[in-house]
Symmetry: C2
Subunit: 332 residues, 2 copies
C-alpha cells in the first residue's frame, strides 16, 4: 500500500503558505507483529496545529521539519499483526496528514460504528470533549446562566452552542459574516447571533444581544471578543478560556483585552483549560453526547474537503472564515 | 466640637492635584438619640479611593462633588446618644477624610482594644481581609505553592507576604526601588525580592527569582507584573486578581498583558475578588490574624502622616512609591 503525506518543510511566518509544506509518497510495508496497517478515512484540522508549526514550546511539542505532520484521523484497519484488531475495524489515531500508515497498536484506538466515523473527529472526539469540559467544568455552567460563545459556528463553538441550548440556556453566538450569522440563527436556533465583522463595536452589539448581561463566556478567540465579554459580564461570571485563535497567526502579540480590571470589580473567574488534560472524563462525556445525538439534539457541523490535496485549504479554512463547523478532509 | 474635612471639588484627570480638593471646617452638634459623636484617631488611604474620585461606575458609587470624601477610619466616642456606646469606646467607620463626625450608631462598629487602634485599618481590617481572602480563597493556596506578590511592600501586599511566609511558603515579592527591595528581604524575610524599576525585563527577573516557576500570583498591580506572572506561571497556577493599581491613575487603559494565551496553555485560573463581598468570613479571618499577631508572626507595616493637612500626601503616597505598607493619617 502506498500513502501520500503532507510534510512541514519550513516554519510559517504568519498565515501558512503552500511553500511551507511538501507532499511525498511513501510505500507502507505489511504490518509486523503488534502493528496495524491503516487507511485513513477522515482527518481533521484544529487551530492548535498552527502552534505546532511554530518552534515555540507549548503544551504539545512542535512538528518536526521534513516529517509528516500529525493530527486526529479516523481510518480502517487494512491489515493487522495483532489479534485484537481485524481488517475493517474503525480506529482513531493522531496520524493524520497522510492517507495511510503503519504503526504499533498502541498508536490507535478502536471506535464503535454506532456513530458516523467522522463524529469521532467532531462532537464525539476532542472537539466535543473541549466543548463539554469547557462548559460544564471550566465555566461550571449552572441553571439560568446566559451563555456567550465566540467562533460559535466553528468546530468547538457549534458543539458548545448545541449543548448549552439543549440544556435550556439562553445562548448568544458571535461569528464572522452574514452566512455564519444566519447559520447560528436558523440552524443552531440561538437566541442571539452577532456578525462581528459587521459591528463597529462588538461590546455594544453584545450589550444589545444580552440586555441582562452574560454569566458564562466560552472563549475561542481572545482579543476583542474577550474584551466585549469582560465589559458585558455579570458579577461572578465565569469564562472558559479555550484558545485564542485571533492570535495564532499573529506575528505580534495582541494588546486586547484592555479592560481586564473588570475581572476584579466583577469578581470574574477566567479558567484556562486544555481538553487533553481531562481524558479521565471521556466516558461521562461520551455517554452524554451519544444520548444527545440519539435524541436528535446534537449534530455534527462540518465542512468537507475531498482528498489530501485539499488539506491545506481545509487548514486555512479554520482562519479565513470559509468553513462552518469542523474542517474535515475526506480521504477514504 | 469642630471638625475639619477634605472635600472633592473636581474629578481628577490622571493623578489628583491639590486643586481637585478643598478643606472646610464644620461645627458638630451634640448627638441626638441613636447618634454618636466621634473623634477620629486614624484614617487610611486605599487605591480604590482613586476609582471613587472618578465618575465611572464601579462596585462602589463615586464620591459626590462638594462633599467630604469617605474612607476607613478608627476613632473614639466623645459623646453618645445611645446606651450601647460610651465615651472612650473605640469605633470603626467609613467616615474618614475628616477629624470627627456625628452619625447614627448604624454607621459605626465597636472594636476591641486588644490590638493597636490602627490595626483595624490594616492587618485586622479590610486590608488584612483582602490579603487573607485573596490568598486562601481566590488563589486557594495549598502546601508547596511558590507565591509571587506584586506591590509586596504595600498595605495589602505586606500582609499577603507575611501570611504566606508564616504558612511556610516560598515567597517572592516585587516593589519599586532599593529601599522597598531591602525591606522585603531584611524585614519581611522574603525568599526573593525584585526591584521592578531596576529590571529591564520583569519576566526575566521573576524567572531568576523563581527558577521552579510560581504557583500562586497575588496581583495588586496588573500590567507588566501580570504579564511576567503569566509567563513564569506553572501549569495550573492560580492568580488572585485584587486590583490593578498600575491603571488607576491612567487616562488610557493599559494594553498589557499581551500574553493571556498562557492562561489557556497552562490551564491557569484568574480569579477576581472584592473583599467587601466576603464579610461573612470576617470572624474566621480575625481569629487567624489575632493569633498570628499574638505569636509575633504578623505586624503592621505602615507609613504615618501627621494631621489632616497631610492626607493628600498620604493618598499620593499610594501611587508615587513614597510609603511602605499602609498609608495612615494620624488625627487624634
Amino acid at each position: 500500500m502506498r500513502s501520500r503525506e503532507v510534510r512541514l518543510e519550513r516554519r510559517p511566518n504568519g498565515a501558512p503558505v503552500a511553500e511551507d509544506f511538501s507532499f511525498a509518497e511513501v510505500q507502507l510495508p505489511p504490518p509486523g507483529p503488534g502493528e496495524v496497517q491503516v487507511r485513513n478515512l477522515w482527518m481533521t484540522m484544529d487551530p492548535a496545529m498552527r502552534g505546532r508549526m511554530s518552534e515555540a514550546r507549548s503544551y504539545v511539542p512542535p512538528f518536526e521539519l521534513g516529517k509528516a505532520m500529525e493530527g486526529p484521523a479516523v481510518g480502517e484497519i487494512v491489515a493487522s499483526g495483532d489479534p485484537a484488531f481485524a481488517p475493517g475495524d474503525l480506529v482513531w489515531s493522531r496520524l493524520g496528514w497522510r492517507e495511510g500508515f503503519i504503526a504499533p497498536v498502541t498508536k490507535v484506538e478502536k471506535r464503535e460504528r454506532d456513530l458516523p466515523p467522522q463524529a469521532y473527529l467532531g462532537f464525539a472526539g476532542m472537539t466535543g470533549l473541549t466543548a463539554w469540559v469547557g462548559l460544564l467544568h471550566a465555566a461550571a455552567l449552572k441553571p439560568g446562566d446566559v451563555v456567550f460563545v465566540s467562533a460559535a459556528s466553528g468546530g468547538v463553538g457549534s458543539v458548545v452552542c448545541q449543548i448549552a441550548k439543549l440544556m435550556g440556556h439562553k445562548v448568544i453566538g458571535a461569528a464572522g459574516g452574514p452566512r455564519k450569522q444566519a447559520f447560528l440563527t436558523d440552524v443552531l436556533k440561538l437566541d442571539g447571533a452577532i456578525d462581528y465583522k459587521a459591528e463597529p463595536s462588538l461590546t455594544k452589539a453584545l450589550a444589545r444581544a444580552a440586555p441582562d448581561g452574560i454569566d458564562v463566556y466560552f472563549d475561542n478567540v481572545g482579543g476583542e471578543h474577550l474584551q466585549a465579554a469582560l465589559a458585558i459580564a455579570n458579577k461572578g461570571a465565569r469564562f472558559a478560556l479555550c484558545g485564542m485563535i485571533s492570535q495564532y497567526n499573529s506575528t505580534e502579540p495582541s494588546a486586547a483585552p484592555r479592560n481586564l480590571t473588570q475581572a476584579v470589580t466583577k469578581e470574574l473567574r477566567l479558567q484556562g483549560f486544555i481538553a487533553l488534560n481531562h481524558l479521565d472524563k471521556m466516558d461521562a462525556f461520551l455517554a452524554d453526547v451519544r444520548s444527545w445525538h440519539a435524541a436528535g439534539q446534537l449534530e455534527q457541523v462540518e465542512t468537507v474537503y475531498e482528498g489530501l490535496d485539499r488539506s491545506l485549504d481545509a487548514f486555512n479554512g479554520l482562519f479565513n472564515g470559509e468553513g462552518l463547523g469542523k474542517m474535515l478532509v475526506k480521504l477514504g
